[in-house]
Symmetry: C2
Subunit: 146 residues, 2 copies
């Protein structure tokens, strides 16, 4: 009666064994006990992996997950760790959404294109970008308000 094998664990949390080995290698999982060379786990590995999975799901990179586990003083409560990382990630996501909305605006404008040839669009875009470069280089002359 010796604990779970790597593929039993992997099956439970819907990961591949290779992912678990990878997590161990990069140090976000502790080195597992071995039984004649093979990893054996108890149930606490599930809790560790559940945290990792949840963190991945909400967009944390493995580096951020490392910070979650090891980037705080030992007695820092889990709640505070989550709060700190979540705050940062929410800010990131806010920026990301704004960025996407800008892009959506550009896309909608692009849908109004009336060009026949792509080179036509290209010429307009190129000349506009030239204007902008020029405007940046001598900002005293305003280009006419569009």
């Amino acid at each position: 009666m010796a604990g779970l094998t790597i593929s039993q664990v992997a099956g439970q949390v819907d990961l591949r064994p290779s992912a678990i080995r990878y997590y161990e290698r990069i140090g976000i999982l502790p080195a597992a006990q071995r039984s004649s060379g093979q990893r054996r786990y108890d149930e606490t590995i599930m809790y560790r992996l559940a945290v990792i999975q949840r963190a991945r799901l909400i967009g944390f990179s493995l580096e951020e997950i490392r910070r979650l586990f090891f980037g705080f003083r030992t007695n820092t409560p889990a709640s505070k760790r989550w709060a700190e990382l979540s705050r940062q990630k929410l800010a990131e996501l806010k920026t990301l959404v704004e960025h996407i909305q800008t892009i959506q605006g550009l896309l909608r404008r692009q849908q109004n294109c009336r060009c026949t040839k792509l080179d036509q669009c290209g010429k307009v875009m190129f000349l506009k970008s030239c204007e902008q470069h020029a405007a940046k280089d001598n900002p005293q002359k305003k280009t006419r308000k569009s």
Copy 2:
């Protein structure tokens, strides 16, 4: 009097020469004329690159850009090409934003965590995910409304 060199072109559109070579290699730019082995360009390359740059800016991959140029019958107007690709990309982005909003919800809920140890969170998450697996496997019994 022989046209622009690759770094002159690159300078104009704010790309590195290596990027232009790369675009040529993967076939989204036509093979350039050579003058004693070196690429020489006329102004139309700027239009082509302006289209590529704009398309990259609004989130198209190089594969999508290839479709923009070559994925339509020759007489398909640029406007229709843009419209088609933009429609798809807007749909993608809509899904993406929804996804991000889901994540933001999860993050905000995570901020309410009151656990001391990460393993506590993990245990809750793990047991919840077990419930869900069970519920998926025999959906006749509802888990109590949370």
